[in-house]
């Protein structure tokens, strides 16, 4: 066996993956050739060093902690498919029921408010005349402070005194008075 043949088989020789016959031929060559022996020695030493390299072991509690984090990021936060389908089914039924109740309550409230408002309008015309005066001065104030996101003291008093504001909570401060949808009862 030549040096070239031997060197081409060195990897497999080191990994113990040659046939017994080939391994014997490589061994014979290495015994006779100092240069190839040195090459083999260096490669075997590198493999041995790599095999010995250890990883610093983290503290034992790390393994339970990382398991818990993975659990929280997977099973706990995203239900497995079967559970999710069941959850979605029951969730959509509940949401439908909730929407129906909210719609019915809103309708009753609106009709009652309109009826009361209509009745008061008949009884006291002077009270109705005062409202536009308040609204116009309030509008002027809002226009002078267009970026104000918060309710004015007057708004708060008005709501506490019985103003029903229709709209999403985030819209209350910015739009309730300007939109003119506040109802006094």
């Amino acid at each position: 066996m030549t040096c070239r043949d031997t060197l081409s088989l060195l990897d497999d020789f080191i990994d113990d993956e040659l046939s017994p016959q080939q391994a014997a031929q490589v061994r014979d060559h290495l015994a006779a050739c100092e240069e190839c022996r040195a090459e083999y020695g260096a490669m075997a030493r590198v493999k041995s060093l790599l095999g010995q390299s250890s990883v610093p072991e983290p503290p034992e509690e790390y393994w339970s902690e990382v398991s818990a984090i993975i659990q929280a990021r997977t099973v706990d936060s995203v239900p497995l498919i079967r559970e999710r389908v069941a959850e979605e089914k029951s969730g959509s039924a509940q949401m439908l029921m909730r929407s129906a109740v909210v719609f019915a309550a809103s309708a009753v409230l609106l009709v009652t408010t309109l009826l009361i408002s209509h009745k008061r309008g008949d009884q006291s015309q002077s009270a109705n005349r005062q409202a536009p005066v308040y609204m116009s001065s309030h509008l002027t104030e809002q226009m002078n402070h267009p970026l104000s996101d918060y309710l004015s003291k007057q708004d708060q008093d008005r709501i506490a005194g019985g103003t029903l504001v229709i709209g999403a909570p985030s819209m209350v401060g910015r739009y309730s008075s300007l939109a003119g949808i506040s109802l006094t009862y």
Binding site: P58, W63, S67
Partner: protein, 205 residues
Amino acid sequence: MADSASVNRWTPPHRNDERSIPELVEGFVNDDASAFTELVKRFQRNIYYLAYRILGNHLDADEVVQETFVRIYRRRKEIENVASFTSFLMRIATNFAIDLLRKRKGHGGLNEELDSLSGETQTELSRRVRTPSEMLDDKVTMQEIRKAMDKLAPRQQITILLHDVEGRSKAEVAAIMECTEATVRSNLHIARAKLKQILTKRLSV
């Protein structure tokens, strides 16, 4: 506290008194949360050791462990079509570690930042139970090997880590790396030759 004297080689994570890996995998695919939890316990160490060897520090190894399991959880329906769960899992871990390695190299390397930390802080991050002389020998050898490894292309680096460090077969490495055994042999040969060249100078190999 655990002893770090062991070489942290790859060991099949299965004991006779517990559910086998195929049983756990089947449970996991069929939405059994306890099977997933058990798989995490069985494989987390192997992924951590591999990731630590690739990236060289606890924080990155921890990130690889977490991300690997989060990703396999999301891709659990694909497992039915893979030949080997272990190879699939290790492939996810390896690919994520390679991505992280490329990012780290692009940003100067987290290893260098960690190397500059005080010994006390390093100990807090990953406590080792070694005698001072063993720690010094280990540190020098590991640092030199890590520096030499950094000179390799990522795929050569992973190939030699999986084969020579973790002791996996060429067939296993090929399955994890999604390549042929011939490619594994080729990468292994190039990586060993480069490492020999570098380490011969540094460690009088």
